[in-house]
C-alpha cells in the first residue's frame, strides 16, 4: 500500500448462503485515479460497491479508505468520510424538486438540528446552480423529480454525487438510458473530476469505457480476472473466453 493509495481492498470475500459473491478480491485505487470496472453479470461489481459503502459487511478481508477500516462504520459515516455513490438504478427523491434533491446532497452538517436551522446562503445556492448547469437541468430546477425522464434522473443522481463533494466517487452504470451525446458528456465530466478526486466507474458499455481512457479492471466470479488498458484487457484470452463464451 503506497501513500497514494486511497482505496484498498485486500483479499475480500463476501459469502451469501454459501455463494461467494466476492472471492478474495484485491483492488487498489490511487488518489486522483479514474478506474473502470467491467465484468459479466454476477461478477460482483455491485457487491464490491456495497462493501465499500458499508451496505454489506465482508465475510473476510481488509477494506480501507486512507487509514480507516471501512468495515467498522455504517453507511452514513462512510459517506461523510468522503465516499459518494451513484446507484445503478437511479434513486432520487420523487416528492422533492430537482433543486431540493441537490440541496439535500450538498455537503453541509447532517444533524437534525443543523438541518432545522439550515439557511441556503449565497455560496451554496451558487454551487447548486453551477451543478444544475453542469447536468443540464437548470430549466427543470423546480420540477418534482418524479416527472423526470430516466436519463434526467441519471443526471440528477450524478449531480447529487457532485454536490457531496466526495474524495472518492463510486459510479454504477452512469450512462444507461443516455443518448450518445449525453454519454460523451458524462465521459468528459468524469475525466475532468478525476485528477482532483478518485473515480471508480462500473459500466457495461465498452465504448464508454474506451472514452474514459483509463485503467480497466475486469471482474469475474468475484475476483480480478485481468487489469490494464482497454486494449490490453480486450485482447486478453481469459477475458475473451469469459465474454464470448468457450
Amino acid at each position: 500500500m503506497t501513500s497514494h493509495t486511497i482505496l484498498y481492498l485486500d483479499d475480500v470475500s463476501v459469502v451469501f448462503d454459501g455463494f461467494r459473491a466476492l472471492n478474495n478480491l484485491s483492488l487498489f485505487v490511487d488518489q486522483g485515479e479514474l478506474r473502470a470496472i467491467i465484468g459479466p453479470n454476477g461478477a460482483g461489481k455491485t457487491t464490491m460497491m456495497d462493501v465499500i459503502t458499508g451496505k454489506t459487511r465482508p465475510s473476510a478481508g481488509t477494506v480501507k479508505f486512507r487509514d480507516s477500516d471501512l468495515t467498522l462504520f455504517d453507511e452514513a459515516a462512510i459517506a461523510n468520510m468522503g465516499i459518494g455513490r451513484k446507484f445503478q438504478k437511479p434513486t432520487v427523491f420523487d416528492a422533492l424538486t430537482v433543486f431540493e434533491n441537490l440541496e439535500l446532497a450538498l455537503k453541509a452538517p447532517r444533524g437534525p438540528v443543523a438541518c432545522l436551522r439550515w439557511v441556503l446562503a449565497g455560496e451554496a445556492r451558487k454551487r447548486i446552480e453551477t451543478t444544475l448547469e453542469e447536468i443540464g437541468l437548470t430549466a427543470r430546477a423546480h420540477d418534482r423529480a418524479a416527472i423526470l425522464s430516466h436519463g434526467q434522473r441519471q443526471w440528477l443522481e450524478i449531480g447529487m454525487l457532485l454536490m457531496q463533494d466526495p474524495e472518492l466517487l463510486l459510479v454504477d452504470e452512469p450512462v444507461a438510458g443516455m443518448t450518445d451525446q449525453e454519454t460523451e458528456h458524462t465521459a468528459a465530466l468524469l475525466r475532468r473530476i478525476a485528477g482532483t478526486r478518485s473515480v471508480v466507474v462500473v459500466e457495461h458499455d465498452l465504448e464508454f469505457v474506451r472514452a474514459l481512457d483509463c485503467k480497466v479492471t475486469v471482474l469475474c466470479e468475484g475476483s480480478v480476472l485481468s487489469e490494464g488498458t482497454i486494449d490490453q484487457v480486450q485482447n486478453d484470452p481469459k477475458v475473451i473466453e469469459v465474454y464470448l463464451g468457450r
Partner: protein, 363 residues
C-alpha cells in the same frame, strides 16, 4: 408517494393561511358565545365548549402523528400511549390537589391509596403537587419513552409494519401495567373526581374557558413547531427518509438520529395533548392506552390527509364530529363507519380530505 405540501405555490399558501386564521378565530369565539344568555340566538351550550376543547387536544395528537407518519413514514400505532402518559402526569397533579377533600379525607394520600392501604405517598408521586413539575413530567416522560423505544427500534432498523406492531405492543403492555393496582396509578379506575387546577374550581365556565384557550394556544403552537420543521431542510430530509431511507443514509445522514429527533418531538406533543385533555374530560384511566385509541388517531390523520398539517387537524375535527353524531344517532354503527371510512379513504382519497381541495388548487 408524493403527499408533501412542501412546495405549494404562493397563492394557495396565502389562502391556506387565511383559512387557518379564520378557523382559529371561529374556535376562539366559542367560549365567548357560551357567555351569552341562554336565550340568545348565538348562545353556545356548555357541551359544545367542552367537546370542542377535547377535539382541540385530539388535533394536537393528530399533528404529532402526522409529523412522524405523514412526513417521516414512521407509522406508530402506539401514540395513544404518549397521550395517556401526558394525561396521567396531569392526572397525578389533579389528584394531589384534591388534598383532604377526598372521601377518606386523608391529607396527602389520594382515595385509592387509602383504600389500598398505602401508608405514604410512593416516591414517584413526590413533586406532582407542584404544577410546573407535573407539566414538565407530562412532556418529559413521553419524550423519554420515545427516546428509548425509538433508539432501540431505529438503531436496529426496525421499520414499516414491524415498527407499527412494536408500538402497538408497547401501548398494550402499558395498558396492562396501568390496570394493576400495585402500580400506584389507581388501577382500572384511574384518576377522577378532580376538584381544581391552578386555583380554579373545575367544572365552572371560567375553568372550561381557560382550558379551552390553553388548548387552542397549544394547538397553534404545535402547528407552528410542525410547520417550522416541515418547511426547513429537516422537513425535506424527513420526506426523503419516508420515500427512500437507505438512499438518505448513503448521502451521509444518520437516519436513526433524524427519526429519533422527530419521534421524540412527536411524543412530547402527544404528551402535551394528553395533559390538556384530562382536566377537560375529568378522568383518566388505563383505557386511554387501549390499542384502538391509537389506531383511531391514525385514522383521523389518514382521513384528513397525511403529510399535510392542515389535513391532520381537519381529520381530527371531522372524524370526531362524525363520531359524536353517530354514537348518539346509531351507537352500534360507529365501529363499522370508522372501518369503512378508513377503507374508503385508502381506496378513493389517498390524500384525504385535503386532497379534495388541493386537486383544485394544483390544476
Amino acid at each position: 408517494m408524493s403527499t408533501s405540501s412542501i412546495s405549494l405555490p404562493a397563492t394557495p399558501r396565502l389562502t391556506l393561511r387565511l383559512a387557518l386564521i379564520g378557523a382559529v378565530v371561529v374556535l376562539a369565539l366559542i367560549p365567548l358565545l357560551n357567555q351569552l344568555p341562554a336565550g340568545s340566538a348565538l348562545h353556545v351550550g356548555d357541551f359544545i365548549v367542552s367537546i370542542t376543547g377535547k377535539w382541540i387536544t385530539y388535533a394536537i395528537l393528530a399533528l404529532a402523528i402526522d409529523l412522524a407518519w405523514g412526513y417521516c413514514g414512521i407509522l406508530s400505532l402506539g401514540h395513544g400511549a404518549f397521550f395517556a402518559l401526558g394525561g396521567y402526569a396531569m392526572g397525578m397533579h389533579l389528584m394531589r390537589l384534591i388534598g383532604p377533600r377526598g372521601a377518606y379525607g386523608h391529607p396527602t394520600l389520594p382515595d385509592f391509596m387509602v383504600f389500598l392501604g398505602y401508608q405514604e405517598l410512593p416516591w414517584y408521586w413526590l413533586g406532582f403537587d407542584i404544577f410546573p413539575y407535573a407539566f414538565f413530567m407530562a412532556l418529559f416522560v413521553p419524550g423519554l419513552l420515545a427516546l428509548i423505544v425509538g433508539y432501540l427500534a431505529f438503531r436496529s432498523r426496525i421499520t414499516g409494519v414491524y415498527l407499527s406492531i412494536l408500538t402497538q405492543a408497547l401501548t398494550y403492555a402499558l395498558m396492562l401495567a396501568f390496570f394493576r393496582n400495585d402500580m400506584g396509578f389507581g388501577g382500572n379506575n384511574g384518576f377522577t373526581d378532580f376538584k381544581e387546577l391552578l386555583g380554579m374550581a373545575l367544572n365552572t365556565p371560567l375553568a372550561r374557558a381557560v382550558l379551552f384557550y390553553a388548548s387552542l394556544v397549544a394547538l397553534v403552537g404545535s402547528y407552528w413547531v410542525c410547520t417550522k420543521i416541515s418547511v426547513s431542510k429537516l422537513g425535506r430530509v424527513l420526506v426523503a427518509i419516508r420515500d427512500a431511507e437507505s438512499r438518505v443514509r448513503f448521502l451521509g445522514y444518520s437516519t436513526t438520529q433524524v427519526k429519533l429527533f422527530v419521534f421524540v418531538i412527536s411524543a412530547v406533543l402527544s404528551g402535551l395533548a394528553g395533559a390538556l385533555y384530562v382536566p377537560q374530560v375529568g378522568i383518566i384511566n388505563p383505557g386511554e392506552f387501549s390499542p384502538g385509541n391509537s389506531i383511531e388517531a391514525v385514522i383521523w390523520v389518514a382521513v384528513g390527509g397525511r403529510g399535510t398539517l392542515v389535513g391532520a387537524v381537519l381529520g381530527a375535527f371531522s372524524v370526531n364530529a362524525l363520531k359524536t353524531w353517530l354514537t348518539t344517532a346509531a351507537p352500534d354503527l360507529w365501529l363499522f363507519a370508522l372501518g369503512g371510512l378508513f377503507v374508503a379513504v385508502t381506496l378513493f382519497l389517498p390524500k384525504g380530505l385535503v386532497g379534495l381541495f388541493s386537486r383544485k388548487v394544483e390544476k
